[in-house]
Symmetry: C2
Subunit: 299 residues, 2 copies
């Protein structure tokens, strides 16, 4: 269903984001150089740049130019990458591989990995208040974005989700708990990426609500598909051993509801995401394509 | 030299900050409750609230009302506390005690401590963009503060300083390297606290420069005195065994230059801090008293 045009679009956006990341994330040459090397190592480990691309696509959907919002797009990739580095630590999920390469604490060491995560998280907020962004977006909109991104990344979002995920390991979880984990750990930052793009480009209240519904739906779908890939996927594609979530006793959607119900749920969520975009014109087509892509990578 | 009035002032400000921290740092009751318990455990472990008080005192010095800037004051304490939690981790300084109590990862566990730090750091930026602050401070000033605080906390500040500090452990360091560590690890966030207070309350360019000079000087003095306390101090006052920096082979000012030269340097820095405040009237007296306090706690 996805056109070659979509893959060209994604590739062009990835290049835009990668160039911006290289520009906005410094490689320092002083006594602290090592931590910036570790940040680059993890930032340029083959990530798909889903969150930055969602931010840019949402900005486009309301008439914005992607080039105007690159520091914000980079900020979201920094937050996503920090969360992966910290989640992989021995005290957390204890993963040695990420996208087929040694994780940050394996390639460097634990202390450097903790600091690389801290550095990326802090840099994200520096970028959201960066003069280059201030030159293009009103201060009021930027504060709104900082507030919603911080909420989505923090204890009421990603951090809270990772805590709940760790506490759920190795024991049965309820549907309510699993939904809490998915919503906090994955969907909240994806939703924030989409809404942030809209706010930056001046979305109306109704448009922001629609983008939020879209973000929540594809965020949940994304997590369910991720869990499915852990069971059905190809180790080369997912970059870690198939079945590693299952082996750890991680709470997953297919574990609780089975494969077929999970696929069905992911498809429903994509339909909901597409419906929420009805008030947008063809400038929202990249968002529509991304919704299809989220499930088609496996189903 | 310090008057009882100063200690009343400090006590009143500490109470103001503690009340605000209780209000602005939530104790969640959901599946992620544990991470917020750990955040509170470390936030309310007897910290002196130096950074928030500096922010409020700097705001007062340029005519602001402290009550207007409490979310920003709390943000700085959140950043300071996160840095202590992460620095204490086994992979970093591996400390079991902090201010006489078990460190966060000892009282909880490593994963929770990492997440508590991440949660506090993220919350700091949420608070700097908080509606309560937006109701009192222009969006442009708040963005300026977010940018300078993020820079001071990140790889060009505290995170870079901790990286350099770890890399310097157990080997001789040059005066240049030690200065880098002090400036990044301690002085940068202290300086940012002072400058942020000024910016929030509308300091002129000249006033901001003066506050920066003041902050850098007391920040460096503070670190030197801390190092001195590690040698001369009372375990009950410093909350960790005397000599623990020396035992770890940590780079310190007295180690490199000796006790007398260190005391002399701290006194010189306080004089510089006081001189930088000459363009302020008596509303800057709390800042002056704090400068004295920084060295008098030991010399």
């Amino acid at each position: 269903m996805l056109s070659p045009r979509f893959f060209d679009y994604i590739k062009a956006r990835q290049e835009l984001v990668n160039k911006a990341l290289n520009y906005y994330v410094p490689l320092l040459q002083d006594f602290s150089a090592r931590v910036t090397e570790a940040m680059h190592y993890s930032l340029f480990a083959g990530g798909k740049r889903l969150r930055p691309i969602l931010l840019l696509a949402a900005a486009e959907a309301v008439g914005g130019k992607p080039e105007d919002y690159l520091p914000a797009a980079c900020a979201l990739e920094c937050i996503h990458t920090y969360s992966l580095i910290h989640d992989d630590l021995p005290a957390m999920d204890d993963d040695d591989l990420r996208r087929g390469r040694p994780t940050c604490h394996k390639a460097f060491d634990e202390a450097t990995a903790i600091l690389a995560g801290d550095g990326l998280l802090t840099l994200a907020f520096e970028l959201l208040a960066h003069p280059d962004l201030r030159a293009r977006v009103s201060a009021g909109r930027l504060l709104e974005v900082i507030y919603l991104v911080a909420k989505a990344a923090g204890i009421e979002g990603m951090v809270g989700g990772q805590m709940a995920d760790l506490l759920a390991e190795g024991r049965p979880v309820s549907a309510e708990e699993l939904d809490f984990i998915h919503q906090h750990k994955t969907a909240s930052l994806i939703t924030a990426s989409v809404v942030a793009g809209g706010v930056l480009a001046g979305a109306s209240e109704a448009q922001q609500q629609a983008l939020k519904t879209y973000g929540k739906a594809i965020g949940r779908a994304f997590q369910i598909v991720d869990d499915l890939l852990d069971i059905l996927g190809d180790e080369k594609i997912i970059g870690k051993p198939v079945g590693s979530d299952l082996a750890k006793g991680k709470a997953t959607y297919p574990r609780l509801f089975g494969l077929e119900a999970s696929k069905q749920k992911a498809r429903e969520l994509v339909t909901r995401a597409l419906e929420s975009l009805q008030l947008f014109d063809e400038k929202a087509d990249p968002l529509r394509d991304i919704a299809h892509y989220v499930v088609e990578r496996t189903l």
